[in-house]
Amino acid sequence: MFWEEERECIARDELEQLQLERLQATLYRVGTHVPFYRNKFFDMKLDYESFGSLDDLRRLPFTTKQDLRDNYPYGLFAVPLRDVVRIHSSSGTTGMATVVGYSSNDIRTWSNLVARILTAAGVTKDDVIQIAFGYGLFTGGFGLHYGAERLGASVIPISSGNTRRQIQIMQDFKTTALVCTPSYALKMADVMMDMGINPSGLSLKYGLFGAEPWSERMRRQINERLGIIATDNYGLSEVMGPGVAGECLECNGLHVNEDHFLIEILDPETLEPVAPGEIGELVITTLTKEAFPVIRYRTRDLTRLLLEPCPCGRTLQRIQRITGRTDDMLIIKGVNVFPTQIEAILFDIEGTQPHYNLVIERQQNEDRMTVLVEVVESMFFHEMKKQRQVIEQIKKRLATELGVSVEVKLVEERSLERFNGKGNRIIDKREL
């Protein structure tokens, strides 16, 4: 099923023509309307009007989260405030908040792109969609909400929190599609068990999860425990919000809405393009945003291009699920470690639960990382030997795959904190 088949299955040369036209108009827009870019272009002696090819993108300056902060709140807007109909702000979990704005056309485009990813994930106008993302300054709730309305689905704007009520409503309102973070979906499964509700008695069919990194193993768990098809979708408020990319029912990578976003995958250190298919930092240029266009925004999200064509028929390129963040990158004893790597290993091991914490300390000038992972209750009934075996198994795999040795502690089920929104599983006690 397609929402805009003509666009989602566009021929490559047609897409490139469209991207070029839109890039040229976007450069004109930021070059004349946004002092930040005008000055940057001027300083770099960059004649943006001479841009004639998509490859010229590489000559353009980057935009970073810090640039957004420096221009707080409205400095990067390309339209006067009276033309802005919506303002969102990023969560600020990693520092000062940033502000983004939308014109009425931006809201329309956004809704349309979210309708696209909802359709790709199996949702139709006949579905009842429960949006358990927070409504507010965070783009997740309203972004999905408007897209689902555009699609014509029945929207339950329940927002996040109060899990028992979520489940009650899911049961009573016959929700068929769930939108939330993947960790919250698992929490719902836990609470359903507590409430004695069997998920197979619910009407749930599809789940669209995003806003935090997750793994294939987590997907399998969600699919099994809730009896749904879980798909991943991607977006960030600095670029638009949800709707930048989303998985189709092949569940194998996220199609990027390339007619609205130009993507690059760059080496986060050298800022040069990585070889096709290699992991690097995702960098996005908006092509149709009116109020808040960004040029080469460094998302700090790590992914790679999936080069094979997708059997679903969409020609829009796919990226792999976000495999980590460049700034989540931990440096342990001088080795670059991405928490998602650890997560993937933990979830592969029999008997563990998808809940973990990473504690990093510095003792006698040496980094020490301890992984706390929940294991099934039955493991504590076994003799110590079984527990030691699991610990050894985890340690060994982490050591070979990460290249650093770590401590491992098993903890009881449900002893670690659960998160409604984005989880923060890293406890860094080093004072660096």
Binding site: E14, Q17, L20, E21, Q24, S50, G52, D83
Partner: protein
């Protein structure tokens, strides 16, 4: 149908068009709007081959036409309705139309007669005036004649330069009604207009030219809702 990349052109030292990229797909009406002197007519005359591009590429039906001579274009299926009508004043309406169909002359009289009948059906007023000299027609009638003359050759792309210029509002409505009908018949139209509202109302997509550059592009719906377009070209700001 039509694909333009980084087109620049002008008159001598005067650079009018700067790196214009745009495209028209089959069955679309695409509007180019912009103020006087923005480069709209220059864009059309460059596509039509009346003016040489200084750089850039033009492809028509997957064939490069950047350096093609102007007179060869109609045979490929691309015709232009020039601004200010420019009908052959001393000739009759019917003679004007037959001249418009001259690329069909090798395909036999039958087709020519059919085309003629079709134009008379589309523009009944021309049938009434078919023996009249074109120079004696009213402005609106001349515009219709210019359009009918272009349609005679069964073009795959019709480019129209300011069809509403100098016409009474009622006639303008009639002209746009006919353009809308052309689309229903499967024609592809590239429309250059100062009357942004009328053009965007019938168009699928549009490009906004300013000082020789495309400063905005998008669906006609988006452009009509764009505040910059509203302020600059629609002459008012919509409150809602």
């Amino acid at each position: 149908m039509l694909k333009i990349k980084n087109l620049s052109s002008g008159y001598g030292k005067l650079k009018v068009l700067k790196q214009v990229s745009m495209h028209v797909k089959a069955g679309e009406i695409v509007a180019i709007i912009g103020a006087n002197g923005a480069g709209k007519t220059t864009l059309l005359t460059t596509i039509a081959g009346l003016l040489r591009a200084t750089s850039g590429e033009i492809e028509f039906r997957d064939r490069p036409i950047t350096t093609l001579a102007a007179q060869k274009l109609p045979a490929l299926g691309c015709v232009m309705v020039p601004e200010g009508r420019q009908v052959f004043a001393p000739l009759s309406v019917e003679e004007n139309l037959i001249l418009g169909g001259h690329v069909l002359r090798r395909q036999g009289r039958q087709l020519l007669a059919e085309q003629l009948a079709h134009q008379y059906e589309l523009f009944p007023i021309l049938h009434q005036r078919r023996q009249q000299l074109a120079g004696t027609l009213s402005g609106g009638e001349q515009q219709m004649l210019a359009m009918a003359r272009a349609l005679m050759s069964k073009p795959s792309l019709i480019m129209m330069d300011e069809p509403s210029t100098g016409l009474a509002p009622l006639i303008v409505q009639e002209i746009f009604r006919v353009i809308g009908r052309l689309r229903e018949e499967g024609n592809t139209v590239l429309l250059v207009e100062q009357n942004a509202k009328a053009a965007l109302t019938i168009a699928d997509r549009g490009y906004v030219l300013e000082t020789g550059k495309v400063i905005l592009q998008g669906s006609a719906e988006d452009l009509l809702a764009n505040r910059d377009v509203q302020r600059a070209y629609l002459g008012r700001e919509r409150i809602h």
